[in-house]
Amino acid sequence: MNDQLNQILNDLILVKADAVLIFSSVVFLIIGLTTTSRLILKSFYVISLLVYLLLHEQADLSVIYLFSDFYKTSSIQSFFKLLFIVFSGFLVFYPSEKKQGVEFYFLMLAIIIGSIFMISANHLLLFYIAIELTSFSSYLIISLGSGKRVFEGSFKYLIFGGTSSAIMLYGISILYGYQETLLVSQFTYFGDEPFYLFGLLTAFAGLLFKVSIFPFHIWVPSTYQEGPNAAVSLVATVPKLAGFLVLIHWLDGMKFFSYDWARPLFTLLIIFTISIGVLAALRQKNVKRMVSYGAIAHSGFLMAMLILPDGFGVNSFLWYAVIYALSNLAIFMMISIFEKKSIIELEDYSGLGSKNALLGAVFTVILLALIGLPPTLGFNAKLYMFSSLLGYYQLSNDLWILTLFIVAIFSIVVSLFFYLKVPYNMFLKSSNEVSVNINLPEKLVATIFSLLLLLGFLYPELLITIIDNINLD
């Protein structure tokens, strides 16, 4: 017993950053309750994250299990944790919305914590709690938006989320029954007994919900549309990427690709996800809703790299993830800036480009990154994705992958149609409305984000060094 406790203490030191983050968020809550100054809140929020960065230790390449194998860490996990923290830190630059008090930032921290534990969990219980933590916080944070319909968005989110997590839990229980353990790392291949497969597939439901893969993507548009921008940006990035990381872990741990049907199935789901994302985005008149459909398509792209075996896609996935995070950060920032000026629908953007050439250009760059055109990092992301798909195809001659490849290519054409509506409206259409005054700091931040997307393309060394040091499983 004592040994056990000592072990736990040792382990706790190893995960001190995660633990302290929980602690500091509670502290943040307490401090926050005493103040109403947004500046103080933001600075404490950033401080909590900085503390994490301070305590964070880059893990080794090999995988380490802690807390009786509940907790797992390796370089890929710690990289993503860093990514989450840095990403979330930048969210303070978003223009604040009314009534964003302490609870808003506290819930953001909760989402981050949930995601961090999600990717670290080896035990399904820990994973379940973590995923529920992010879900609950997401439901709540979405409902903190301004606007009347925000609760509708968050309520729908809750119903979907609750249902899918219940389905997932049912699946987990079945897996437990067969595997007799909840530790993913100890799972074994279990043949294709129907009930086991049923469990396996239902267990994936919650995960697919989190990463918004077809058919669990329905909640995305209405949720994103109404939520506060910083929160949406967070929800669209951090838990989603965490979900993908868990997916990597599960696919591997549950020996998923030992089943013949697995790759075709996922390929099909991805194809549907991508097509639905881009096609549905076409008819949107609301920019945010359009971007959220775009985000669904991006989920498909991200997932596409994960279904490739033997590390064919992992590196590309890392790149895509980083670039996706960066472009999400930027695009929601832009949306947020404009939303503050009540520029929400596409037609509200008409003629803005002539008066605000800089913002127009920045917006265009970001959208290019989302489409995947040079000279932005988005192109790199797409390029690596295509490389992975084609590289695997040349090895396996798998027609499913080729189909996926073709769909991905075509989806880029379609995504042009809708993403470019914004610059089209901004520059090519004219309106008589007065120009929009955007204050300098916001302009500056938006510009920096878009410059990052450009510079990252021109000088990719920095990202390369970081990503190269990550274990590729």
Partner: protein, 549 residues
């Protein structure tokens, strides 16, 4: 920084300057643009002077001059190996003239946009960016770099047409953008396949040494690909047995590239963006579009599609030659039926670009030389023609052929230049248009005897092209410039005046060059004949070697 990098990056400097100057100093922008493009032009002249035409080569690595190479991306992709992309530029006989042509036309383009008054800052900023990417596209020796320039060119173009264009500018710009981008995706697919199939031995060895583990570095380096450093069993390696629908993968790749670049060239039946884009674009942009951007399609065919897939080039020589033939005739016939002078010229471009494709498809020395020459000469002639249309449009705001006649009486100088370029374009001997067409035809007819790839009837039928082009030009000239002086609207009569000094400055050098290169084409041929010789030999030998067995 080498000469080529300077040519590419000077515009960036200028663009920065433009960005820093506030909008209200409107007249400054054009001067900055003029300065920047002139600097590019001067450098391009230095380039051509220092270019060594005699340099003979036995491999692609030796043929490029003014090479500058820096590692850009070296990325571990896990199981896939490494990805390497370089900032790698250089010119050979194929590209050097295109660089010079671009530099010249860019200067002329600035001059012809002298009267742009609306949102000048944005206009010249985009123009300058365009000038950089255009040159970059011609000198890039790395597929990724090439693609980046190729794609990035679209955006400035999109906005330049879409904001400063004519009435249906939005439609035209979107059409242009989508068509070209659609094509470029085909190209991207092949590029991805290509780099995955090729590895750089030096870099691989270096990395293997560094890490101690066997490493493979896939590279976008064009030279490496051109020299055929294919991996065994990779998707686009020769003779690997990858095929879809019974057609080997390499053939697919070749066809994809042809589709991609043909859209840019353009070739019937993917040409329909061109007339719209031309008609709606402002004059300067039409000049660039016809003068340079189409050539990028042609250059891409030379440098990428043909040089990298010689087997496909040989296998599909006949169909592609026929495609070129169809373009020649179809474009010409359509030009005949156009009532809008600019549309007429746009369609004539399609016809003339058909010669480029035809010449290239023959894979004969004459055909390829002719094809290159045709690109250059068309660059000069068509841009001059668009300037000519612009001159008339500036004065009247109209371009309909039927709305004017007898212009020669009131505008003798203008008529002189019109006639000069019309006849140059219809291939009158003594002007550059003729030389290109002649050699293309020689190649097309001779191919059957020399390498047996293209039947001679294709070339013989293509001779129809010179009749067709004569018909529409003469007809248009007769209707618009001859006969009684008459204009549809009386107010035009006051507006109409002969060439202004600025227009003289633009037209005279073009006219002089058209005649000079028509009389002394060897000036151009000499600089590129070594490259073309190597290019042709390379395709014919490697084409046989790579062909599926």
């Amino acid at each position: 920084m080498s000469l080529l990098s300077l040519i590419i990056f000077i515009p960036f400097l200028a663009a920065g300057i433009i960005l820093l100057i506030p909008q209200r100093f409107t007249p400054i922008f054009k001067w900055v643009a003029l300065l920047s493009t002139s600097a590019q032009f001067v450098l391009a002249i230095i380039l051509i002077i220092n270019f060594d035409p005699q340099l003979s080569a036995n491999s692609w690595g030796e043929i490029f001059q003014f090479v500058e190479k820096k590692q850009w991306i070296l990325l571990n992709l896990g199981t896939l190996g490494w990805l390497s992309a370089e900032y790698h530029v250089g010119v050979d006989g194929l590209s050097v003239w295109l660089v010079v042509l671009s530099a010249l036309l860019l200067v002329i383009g600035v001059l012809s946009s002298w009267k742009v008054t609306r949102r000048t800052k944005g206009y010249f900023f985009l123009y300058i960016m365009l000038s950089s990417t255009i040159v970059g596209c011609f000198v890039a020796l790395d597929l990724m770099l090439f693609y980046v320039f190729f794609e990035f060119m679209l955006l400035p173009m999109f906005f330049l047409i879409g904001i400063w264009g004519g009435i249906r500018r939005t439609y035209a710009s979107i059409k242009f953008f989508l068509y070209t981008l659609f094509g470029s995706l085909f190209i991207l697919v092949v590029f991805v396949g290509l780099y995955l199939s090729v590895s750089d031995a030096d870099l691989s060895a270096k990395l293997t040494e560094q890490t101690g583990i066997e490493q493979v570095v896939h590279t976008f380096n064009m030279v490496t690909i051109l020299d055929g450093n294919y991996d065994n069993g990779a998707i686009l390696s020769p003779n690997t047995g990858f095929e879809i629908a019974g057609i080997p993968m390499r053939y697919w790749a070749f066809l994809f590239l042809v589709i991609g670049f043909s859209i840019k060239l353009p070739i019937v039946p993917v040409h329909t963006w061109l007339p719209d884009a031309h008609v709606e674009a402002p004059t300067a942009i039409s000049v660039l579009l016809a003068g340079i951007l189409l050539k990028i399609g042609g250059y891409g065919l030379f440098r990428v599609a043909y040089a990298m897939f010689p087997d496909g080039a040989m296998h599909y020589a006949q169909p592609i030659a026929i495609l070129g033939l169809i373009s020649i005739i179809y474009g010409g016939m359509n030009a005949m039926a156009q009532g809008d002078l600019k549309r007429l010229i746009a369609y004539s471009s399609i016809s003339h670009m058909g010669f480029v494709l035809l010449g290239l498809a023959t894979l004969t020395s004459e055909g390829i030389n002719g094809s290159m020459f045709q690109m250059l000469s068309h660059g000069l002639i068509s841009s001059a023609l668009f300037l000519i249309v612009g001159v008339y449009y500036d004065r009247t705001g109209d371009r309909k052929i039927e709305n004017a006649s007898g212009l020669a009486i009131r505008l003798p100088n203008y008529t002189f230049f019109t006639a000069l370029f019309f006849f140059a374009s219809l291939g009158l001997p003594g002007m550059s248009g003729f030389v290109g067409e002649l050699f293309v035809l020689l190649g097309a007819v001779g191919s059957e005897n020399s390498n047996g790839l293209v039947s001679s009837w294709v070339g013989l039928v293509a001779v129809l092209g010179i009749i067709i082009s004569a018909a529409y030009y003469l007809w248009a000239f007769q209707r618009m410039f001859m006969g009684r002086f008459w204009l549809r609207k009386p107010e035009w009569e006051e507006a109409i005046e002969d060439l202004k000094p600025r227009e003289w400055i633009m037209l005279v050098p073009l006219g002089a060059m058209v005649i000079y290169f028509g009389l002394f084409p060897n000036v151009i041929f000499d600089a590129m004949s070594e490259t073309v010789r190597f290019f042709t030999d390379h395709i014919l030998t490697q084409g046989v070697e790579y062909a599926p067995k």
